[in-house]
């Protein structure tokens, strides 16, 4: 019985010592009971700092209330530079999702594509855009006559090129003063269907003006 009493006493004393050791009175800094072996002594002349010490973090299982966050900045890494899409950049978001882009169907083989003029074409060199208004498709051909393409291009004029609507399509006269390197936006229609095409014709080499390239930017039905 005496042994049990003394072990209770020792245990309770242990408990009380623990409480007293870490006594904190609100507003006063933490004062350790004594410099224990192993703790570094404070610099002479400077009281122990009142910077907060170690924190233990609450782990609250269940609801994700463990932490909260706030995004301050999102930039492309040095490696990815300007390639890649930044989901927090309005320029990139507009670029992917903008609703003012081409709305052609799956048969659009023109937007963003180029076609070299075929210099062997008789009467040419020609390049042409073929449009199908029912399927809203578009394709580029490099040999054609004006009758088989919807919009045709001829680079044999000196210092300029010629373009105009082909069979069944209307929207303007044949223009013979197309300037190389300038972007044009023209609208053509057939029946009740209308299409707007943005295109540019470039000289591949200034020395050889017959070697031109038709670049189509976009096709909008």
């Amino acid at each position: 019985m005496a042994r049990k009493k003394s072990s209770y006493k020792a245990a309770l004393e242990e408990l009380k010592k623990e409480y007293r050791k870490w006594c904190v009175v609100a507003g006063k800094p933490i004062i350790p009971a004594g410099i224990e072996q192993g703790q570094p002594p404070w610099d002479l002349g400077q009281p122990p700092g009142d910077l907060p010490g170690e924190m233990q973090l609450v782990r609250t299982p269940g609801l994700d209330g463990e932490f909260s966050y706030e995004i301050e900045q999102v930039i492309n890494t040095w490696y990815s530079g300007s390639t890649g899409t930044n989901p927090f950049s309005w320029v990139d978001i507009n670029g992917i999702f903008t609703t003012t882009g081409s709305r052609s169907g799956s048969g659009d083989q023109c937007s963003g594509k180029s076609m070299v003029f075929d210099t062997t074409a008789p009467g040419g060199p020609y390049a042409g855009i073929v449009l199908n208004e029912t399927t809203r498709s578009c394709s580029l051909v490099n040999f054609s006559s004006s009758s088989s393409s919807s919009v045709y291009f001829n680079s044999l004029i000196t210092n300029n090129y010629q373009y105009g609507p082909g069979a069944g399509w209307s929207g303007g006269p044949v223009v013979s003063t197309g300037v190389y390197g300038t972007t044009y936006v023209k609208t053509y229609s057939k029946g009740s269907n209308t299409v707007g095409i943005s295109f540019k014709v470039t000289n591949n080499t200034p020395a050889n003006p017959n070697n031109a390239v038709l670049n189509v930017n976009s096709v909008n039905w």
Binding site: L51, Q56, F67, Y69, Q73, T77, G84, N94, F97
Partner: protein, 163 residues
């Protein structure tokens, strides 16, 4: 009765994330002790933020992208925040989602402690690199993927107790 667990207080550490840098005081015997921001004190030893917390944060960022929560998760000082949210609200299709392909290296930039009646808040500013991918379905052209790799500067607030 349904009750929510934590009431978290957001604080502004006035270093970084503003138009111009502010002084982060070096503690010295002569200088007057100045807080990092209202109520935020410096920590004695920086407490590392573990990878699990950073990965969970990136996951939450991806989950809140293109949802009504996205705007709340951007700091007020996020550059061109209005233009980004207008773009998202005006243009992003409903099924566009963000996927985190990988979480790369991260680094603790600075840290502070703020007392709160409910406990103490550990506020850490982290720089983390992540590879992301925007995914959505275009009925004409099919499944679309847009990859990128960005560095995110994030302020994480964790609740704890001073020992």
């Amino acid at each position: 009765m349904l009750a929510f667990l934590l009431i978290l207080v957001f604080t502004v550490i006035k270093t970084h994330a503003q138009e111009c840098r502010r002084i982060q005081p070096i503690k010295s015997p002569d200088a007057v002790e100045a807080p990092l921001a209202e109520g935020v004190r410096a920590v004695k030893e920086q407490i590392p933020v573990d990878r699990q917390t950073v990965e969970k944060t990136m996951q939450k960022i991806a989950e809140s992208w293109n949802t009504p929560e996205m705007s709340k998760k951007l700091a007020n000082s996020f550059y061109e925040k209005d233009r980004l949210m207008d773009s998202m609200n005006g243009n992003a299709p409903v099924d566009a989602r963000l996927r985190i392909l990988s979480v790369g290296s991260y680094r603790l930039i600075n840290q502070g402690i703020k007392s709160d009646p409910g406990g103490d808040l550990l506020i850490s500013r982290i720089s983390v690199i992540a590879k992301t991918q925007i995914e959505y379905n275009n009925p004409t052209n099919g499944f679309q993927r847009r990859q990128g790799e960005q560095e995110y500067i994030i302020k994480i607030t964790q609740k704890g107790f001073l020992k």
